[in-house]
Amino acid sequence: MVIRMADEETEAGVLPSTELIEAMTRYNEQLVKAGVMLSGEGLMASDRGARVRFDGTGRTTVLDGPFTEAKELVAGFSVLRADSLEEVIEWVKKWPVEDGHGNARIEIRQVVGPDDFGDAVTDENRTYTVDLSGR
């Protein structure tokens, strides 16, 4: 999972220019042509979002956005399929410089696969755990 981290502009709700959309489209097209890109979405600023906190005793608290720490928030994501972290890093290094005025911050995280759960996957729970992933 490739996460475009938020910044002051994304959190201010600044929308991309045609030039930036073009650059991202060209980049995504390369990823799709290489058979690497499975999905990708952009998120609205956190002022349109919320957080639900579970306190560990079954109680929940709802907090409306916006949230502080813009640079730790998610502004968009893609799911890529690659043979190694290094391959993903090489793709991400080609991220369009138009994005974030050449100062974008991208986090790469490995997605859990069906074989990673070990013995926790049983014949009973397989159909609605493992088989639901990768949708």
Binding site: E41, F54, V74, I89, E107, R109, V130
Partner: protein, 148 residues
């Protein structure tokens, strides 16, 4: 409306502790409910940030930083992509996420952009290309699912 629902990481997920059979079964049942209600578009769990990296650009020049990353509670441990009618409906679904007793969990809900949000900057040509790429991505997802 689509919402991305992210479970935030904590010390346990960042330590690479995988769910128990009980937790996995509870989460699977919850996911099954989402599917039956027709609201689940996608969902994935993430490995700890120790297996990840960051690429930080500075004036167009990338630097690579290997994980793990500090501030566990700001990291993402997993996500669902939901298709619902309102933020309130997303919140109601999130309140029902099975959480282990004694474990504090924060789940963030964020609205996903739709093509119409971008106005005229998203030209008809770019919209057509976006649609074409999304269709190809779906074919790739189906191929990956078949591989499993």
């Amino acid at each position: 409306m689509r919402f991305m629902v992210m479970i935030k990481a904590d010390e346990r997920t960042e330590a690479g502790v995988l769910p128990t059979e009980e937790e996995l079964t509870a989460m699977g049942r919850y996911n099954e409910e989402l599917v039956k209600a027709g609201v689940l578009l996608a969902g994935e769990g993430l490995h700890s940030s120790a297996k990840g990296a960051r690429v930080v650009f500075s004036d167009g020049v990338p630097s690579v930083i290997d994980g793990p990353f500090a501030e566990a509670k700001e990291l993402v441990a997993g996500f669902w992509l939901l298709d619902v009618k309102s933020k309130e409906e997303a919140i109601e679904w999130v309140k029902r996420v099975p959480c282990t007793e004694g474990v504090e969990v924060t789940i963030e809900i964020r609205q996903v952009h739709e093509v119409d949000d971008f106005g005229e900057a998203f030209t008809p040509e770019l919209r057509a290309k976006d649609q074409e790429l999304r269709e190809k991505e779906e074919q790739l997802r189906l191929a990956v699912r078949d591989d499993r």
